[in-house]
Symmetry: C2
Subunit: 340 residues, 2 copies
Amino acid sequence: MRCIETAAVGMLAAALTWPAAADYLVKEVGSFHIGGRTATLSGLAVKEVVFTPGMPAIKVDPNGEFAVEQMYVQFVKLAQPKARLPILLWHGGGLTGVTWESKPDGKPGWQQFFLEAGYDVYVSDAVERGRASWARYPEVFQGEPLFRTKKEAWELFRIGPSYEVGGKREAFEGQQFPIDAFDQFMKQGVARWVTTDAAIQSAYDALVQKVCPCIVVTHSQGGNFGFNAALNAPDKIKALVSIEPSGAPDLSKVDVGKVKGTPHLIVWGDFRDKVPVWQRIQVNPGKYGDALRAAGGKADVFDLPAMGVKGNTHMLMMDRNSDEVAKLVSDWIAKQGLVN
Amino acid sequence: MRCIETAAVGMLAAALTWPAAADYLVKEVGSFHIGGRTATLSGLAVKEVVFTPGMPAIKVDPNGEFAVEQMYVQFVKLAQPKARLPILLWHGGGLTGVTWESKPDGKPGWQQFFLEAGYDVYVSDAVERGRASWARYPEVFQGEPLFRTKKEAWELFRIGPSYEVGGKREAFEGQQFPIDAFDQFMKQGVARWVTTDAAIQSAYDALVQKVCPCIVVTHSQGGNFGFNAALNAPDKIKALVSIEPSGAPDLSKVDVGKVKGTPHLIVWGDFRDKVPVWQRIQVNPGKYGDALRAAGGKADVFDLPAMGVKGNTHMLMMDRNSDEVAKLVSDWIAKQGLVN
C-alpha cells in the first residue's frame, strides 16, 4: 500500500472544509437584454445641452432610432449547481428585480436563498422598469407613468391599516415586514405604465425560450405574466410558483389544459381579510387554479396563515420570516421531482 | 507513520482541483439603495387605473410622499477576496451599471474580470438611472429626460464616422467594438437628466462613506463624480481610475492637493483625433492631471493607441480587447501596492 503522511491529508481536508456552508462557487455573474424593437422618431426639435458642467454644449437631436421595450435579465451561474433547472424570479408592478435581492433591512433575500440552495438564479427587470429602461411618451409609450406613494404601498401591501402623510404609520399586529426599513424599501420603487402588458409578455416569452427549461417564481403583477408564459411554453416552464398573483388569464380565452403538465403553486400571505381589494384580487387566480385542477393539472395553494405561518405582507420575500416562506416554496419545488 | 490509501488522497486532490481556474467562491450577492430624500407632492388630480386586465380599477392618488434621488448599488462579496480593497465601478451618462456586466456580445465584462481577479465588486446605477429610479418631472426633477439615439451613440462613442438612420453604419478601420452587437448595446441605454448632478454626487459620496476604503473606476460622465468623490473623501478612495472622463472639477474651485495621496489613472481610447468633440472633452481632465502632478500627486495617463493598444472606442470595456485593457488597469492598481 502506498502511503502519504496524514499531516498532508489534514491540510487537504482543511482546504476542503474552508468554505463556509453557505458560500457557493460561481462560474459567472452576468446580464443581457432581451426582446424589444427599434422605434424611429422624427419631427422633434433639436436642443443644445451641457452634459457636464464646464464642458461645451452638445447638440441633441431627439429624432432617430431608439431601442425600446426590451427587458433586462441578470444571472448568477454556479460552477456546480445542485439543482437541475435554473430558477427565474419575476417581480411585481412598480418594482424591479431588486425585489429578490437583499431585503430592505439589509438581510439576504430570495436570490441569495436560492443561490445557497444550489440554483442558477435569473433576476429580471420587466419592460420599462429599472435597467430595462423606459421610452419617450407619448411618442413611444401610451399613457403616463405612475409612481407609487409611500401611503399606497403601506396600505396596499398590507403592512398596516393606515398611513398618515408625515404622521403616524399604523401596522397590523403581528405583521412581519421590518417597518424600520419601510422608507428604505420605498427607494426600490420605480415608475410604471399600465399600457405595456403586451410588450412585457413578449419579452418574458422570449426569455423563457432563451434560458428554459426552468422554474419560474412570480410576484404580484408578475403573476399574470407567469401564467401566460407557461401557457405559451408549457414544455419550458417545469414549475410555476405565483406569490400573491394580482391577476390570472381570462379562462374564456385560454386553454388551461395546456399547462396540466406544469405544477402550479399559489402562495398567499396574511391580512387579506383586512384590506378589501385583496378579496377581489385573489378571485381570478383562485378560479384559474380551480380550472387547472379540473383539467387534470396541479394547482396547490399555500394559504400561509392557515398553515400557521402568520403575519406575512404582500412583500413576503422581504418579511422577517422570508427564509421560512422560501423554504416552503423550495420544498414544494423539490417535491415536484425537479431538483435532482 | 500513520498512513492513508493513495486512492483516497487522489479523491481529495481531485476535489481540490475541481473548480475551473476562473470560478470564484461567493459569500453574498446583494444590493442596497443609498442616499436620496422624501419628496412630498400635493394638489395633483386623483385617477382610476386598471393595473391588470380584468381586475378592478384602483384609485391612484399621486399626492403624497415619494422616495427620490437615491442610488442603486449591487455587490458581489467573495468568500476569500484576494484583493485587500473592494472595487467600485461607476458608469457613464445615459447608461447604468450594466456597462460593466456582460458585454453586448455576451462575453464577460469588467465586473466578471475583477471578480475573477479576486476583488469584491460594487456596480451601481447613479441617481435617476436604471434601478435607482427616476422621479416625476417637472414636480421633482427639473428639465426633461434625454434619450440617446443610435446615431448619436455610434458617432459620439467613436465606433465610426457616420451612421445613417435605417441605412449604412460606417465603422472606423481597426475599431474594436463588436458592431454586430451594437443594437444589443443600445438596449442598455436609459433616459438621463442633466439637472441632477448635485444629487448624483451626494449619493456617490454617501456610497464612499459606506463601503470604502476602496478603489474606484469611473467611465465618462462618472469621471467628474469620481474626481469629486476623491476630493470629498481622499482618505477613503485609495486609487481612482478614470476611463475616458467627460469632465473634471474646476481647478479654481477645488484644492487638488487634497488628493495627492490618491494615485489617479486616466485612460483614453483611440480615434479621438477623428471626432472633434473629444479633443475638447479631454482638455479639462488633462489639466486636472497636470495640476495633481504639480501638487505632488500621481496622475498617470494611459493613451492606449500610443501604447500600441489600437482601435478602442469610448465603450472600451465592451470592445473585443476589453480584457487586455482591464489587465492594464489591474496591473496599474497592483503597482500602487493596494492589492495584497
